[in-house]
Symmetry: none
Subunit: 147 residues, 2 copies
DNA sequence: GTAAATTATGGGTAGATGTGGGTAAAAGTG
DNA sequence: CACTTTTACCCACATCTACCCATAATTTAC
């Protein structure tokens, strides 16, 4: 399970080191490299290969005959790529992914249960403020959900 | 079950020792480390892992394809982190959590049934005064609660 | 009431981790 | 093929963290 958040820096060569804990979790269940792809909202998703395979099996059931399905398939798969680590535990973030999530130097790496998300720091700050407000309102009105 | 309150000090290295009773209770039902996360109001929540897993199973049913679900997932997981004890029975409180709850040197550690809460001492004093004043009114409005 | 044990608090230090950069091999380009 | 650009691997170093020990304060045992 992925949790927590860390602020790391992307260096001048577009490398980003991933916290050790998360690195280990990314490789649990096999030695195959994780997958990085575009995320919903302005962020990137990072999955263990095992999870990615599950996902793409689920996607199998999407009807290619439906336009929406084709769109989602193209979005997620065309932008996905294998994501090996260098010997220092860093990944190399491709240019088109940097652009998509508008990552600058400071990147927030957050664990979200079965995936990792990469956010530009300032983007995450506004986003998490917004979330905090929404969740507090929402949680007052939702039964069976308590923290 | 967690009860009572203690006043402890956070040291210069952001370590906070947890009362032994509570420490034992935090590890009941397994040897996995507890989870610390942001709480409602200006405080932090500390859960036994077992309890935390219940939450995350509830969250399991959330569909990542829905925006509200993504928000809740992010809120729950990004703010949480594993919380191991050092050999002296202290936890290390991350900077962002200190900021969130505005903890200074004196911290009040209170037991609240299935969780522990960490409050800044002065914040807790005002809060508990407020609670004392309003508890009579509040209890009128809550069903399924009798003492 | 006193001694012994437990608990809270402070700090030193070796090793782990995050960050930056050099360089040679590999890949792309004309 | 010669040249430029990219990539993979190496080392360097500053910072952080986990673990250790020390001591003060408190509780428990007798």
């Amino acid at each position: 399970m992925f949790m927590g958040h860390h602020i790391h820096k992307i260096d001048a060569r577009d490398r980003l080191s991933i916290p050790v804990r998360m690195r280990e979790e990314l490789y649990r269940g096999g030695r195959e490299h994780p997958i990085i792809t575009v995320g919903f909202e302005k962020c990137l998703f990072l999955y263990p290969m095992e999870r990615w395979k599950n996902f793409s099996e689920e996607a199998e059931s999407l009807k290619t005959s439906r336009e929406d399905s084709r769109k989602i398939e193209r979005f997620l798969f065309a932008n996905a790529s294998e994501c090996p680590f260098d010997s220092q535990g860093r990944i190399l973030v491709a240019k088109h992914l940097l652009d998509y999530a508008q990552l600058n130097k400071d990147v927030v790496i957050i664990g979200v249960r079965n995936r990792i998300e990469l956010w530009d720091k300032s983007e995450w700050e506004t986003q998490s403020m917004l979330i905090r407000k929404t969740v507090l309102d929402v949680s007052e009105n939702i039964d069976g959900f308590s923290i």
